[in-house]
Amino acid sequence: MSESTWSPSSIETDRRAFRRSRTVRSAAVSAVSTVVVLGVLGWLITHSAGWPRVQETFFSWDKAVESFPAVLKGLWLNIRLMVVCGLSILVLGLTLAIMRTLRGPIFFPLRLLATVYVDLFRGLPLLLLLLLLGLGVPALRLPNVPTELVFWGAVAIILSYSAYVAEVFRAGIESVHPSQRAASRALGLSNGQTLRHVVLPQAVRRVAPPLMNDFVSLQKDSGLIAVLGAIDAIRAAQIETATDFNYTPYVVAGVLFLCLTIPMARLTDRVARKQGWHGAGGTL
């Protein structure tokens, strides 16, 4: 019997109807409860005594429009930092993770180096690194070494984040079952090829969601560079608020950050699903 001649029996039609009604019911329940919760929250907030004042200081449309260009300009710095740092962090983090998972006594120095690196840069507060590198290194006035604040700020972020990301990658690498390595080596692939074609693809898939976490948190931490005097979105917003103590620019900056991170999270989910990345999870 082929697909075209088959039609569901009455029992099956019945089951489908039941499943459909159950789906509709749970969708309705969740829709109604969402609307109710949001409605109640909205009502409580907009009817509170201080609401007109809050609306004026945080959600002033005129102020938003006025501060938007400056905040957007600041955000451009965040975006550039994010892209440059993000890529460097991925490369460095992956290299460190591979160094830490190498086996055999010859690799002891590499392993030691990677371990010390991770311990050190993961342990130091990012703010401290930023100040040390951003203010300390240019002060040395070494020849042929860049003195721009933003450059050293970026270096500090890369050092700190690559230590975190290295551990995420290492967790992924170690979660690949040893039988996978064995199967690959048995086919004649070298250690390096095994890593490249068998272990890393599985490892990276598994750690995609936590990597995404780190990336989003990088976007936000890129603003710390403001302590060195660079003007990012938050700093720009702060400057805007200084004139009249209207905090709307902060809200503008927050919304802009969300506009960056949310599409990216959905995109990773989409890619993960399309490629059948089991364990990549995260569908919302």
Binding site: M1, E3, W6, S9, E12
Partner: protein, 251 residues
């Protein structure tokens, strides 16, 4: 062998079962009855849907059409509690599917303790007895990864049997075993059958099928093409397709 069990209400009854993956119609129109205490053996080419049928019976796959009744209850009805149904059936997977992060003992005691709420001591003594029975009591503290394929297979059998399920589904349980162990598993299944356990198993080993089965079912083209006592189906198949399949295998 005890021969054909007396006809009573079947423990499991499959009617018009259909299951497809995309355009690939794996099971088209499967009918199957399993009497209490009966041992049914599924044979058929690789990819003929033996594993899929067993997974459907254990509600691990949602069927596209048809009805499966277990002890009088239509288990394909979306209103039934699938977990409750599964806790009454045991399944041994073709790929064992042991939990690598648990010891052998913990693999076997997981369901009794968490699903059936048996106290730890009681669950462990039952599990050890079961492991003893499959000849692996001394491996109770080992991890599945440290066992041989055949040992893992036997742990999986112990894990499925420890709950005393009403129905035991075994997917190619002998594929990883040496002839001696096949003999042991055969003895084990024979004992279980003496105790009245109802079993459905799939296999590619016709000798095994002949020894253990009350009924042999030949799966082909998404249907049970031929079924009957092993002597008939394996010895004197009626359908040309069955003869063709068996001739390749036996010779």
């Amino acid at each position: 062998m005890t021969g054909q069990p007396a006809l009573e209400a079947p423990l499991l009854s499959v009617r018009g079962l259909r299951k497809s993956f995309g355009d690939n119609v794996v099971l088209d129109d499967v009918d199957l009855d399993v009497q209490p205490g009966e041992c049914v053996v599924l044979i058929g080419a690789s990819g003929s849907g033996k594993s899929t049928l067993l997974r459907c019976i254990n509600l691990l796959e949602q069927v596209d059409d048809g009805v499966i009744t277990l002890a009088g209850l239509d288990i394909t009805d979306p209103r039934v509690d699938a977990d409750e149904v599964r806790s009454r059936t045991g399944i041994v997977f073709q790929a064992y599917n042991l939990f690598p992060h648990l010891t052998v003992l913990d693999n076997v005691t997981l369901a009794p303790r968490r699903v059936h709420k048996v106290a730890r001591a009681e669950a462990e003594s039952r599990a050890l007895a079961m492991l003893e029975r499959v000849g692996l009591a001394e491996k109770a503290r080992a991890r599945p990864d440290d066992l041989s394929g055949g040992q893992q297979q036997r742990v999986a059998i112990a894990r499925a049997m420890v709950n005393s399920p009403q129905l035991l589904l075994l997917d190619e349980v002998t594929s990883a075993l040496d002839p001696e162990l096949v003999g042991e598993v055969l003895d084990l299944l024979g004992e279980l059958r003496e105790e009245g356990m109802t079993m459905i198993l799939s296999t590619h080993e016709m000798g095994f099928a002949r020894n253990v089965a009350d009924t042999v079912c030949f799966l082909d083209g998404g249907r049970v093409l031929e079924q009957g006592p092993p002597a008939e189906v394996l010895g004197a198949p009626r359908e040309p397709r069955t003869r063709q399949f068996l001739s390749r295998l036996v010779s």
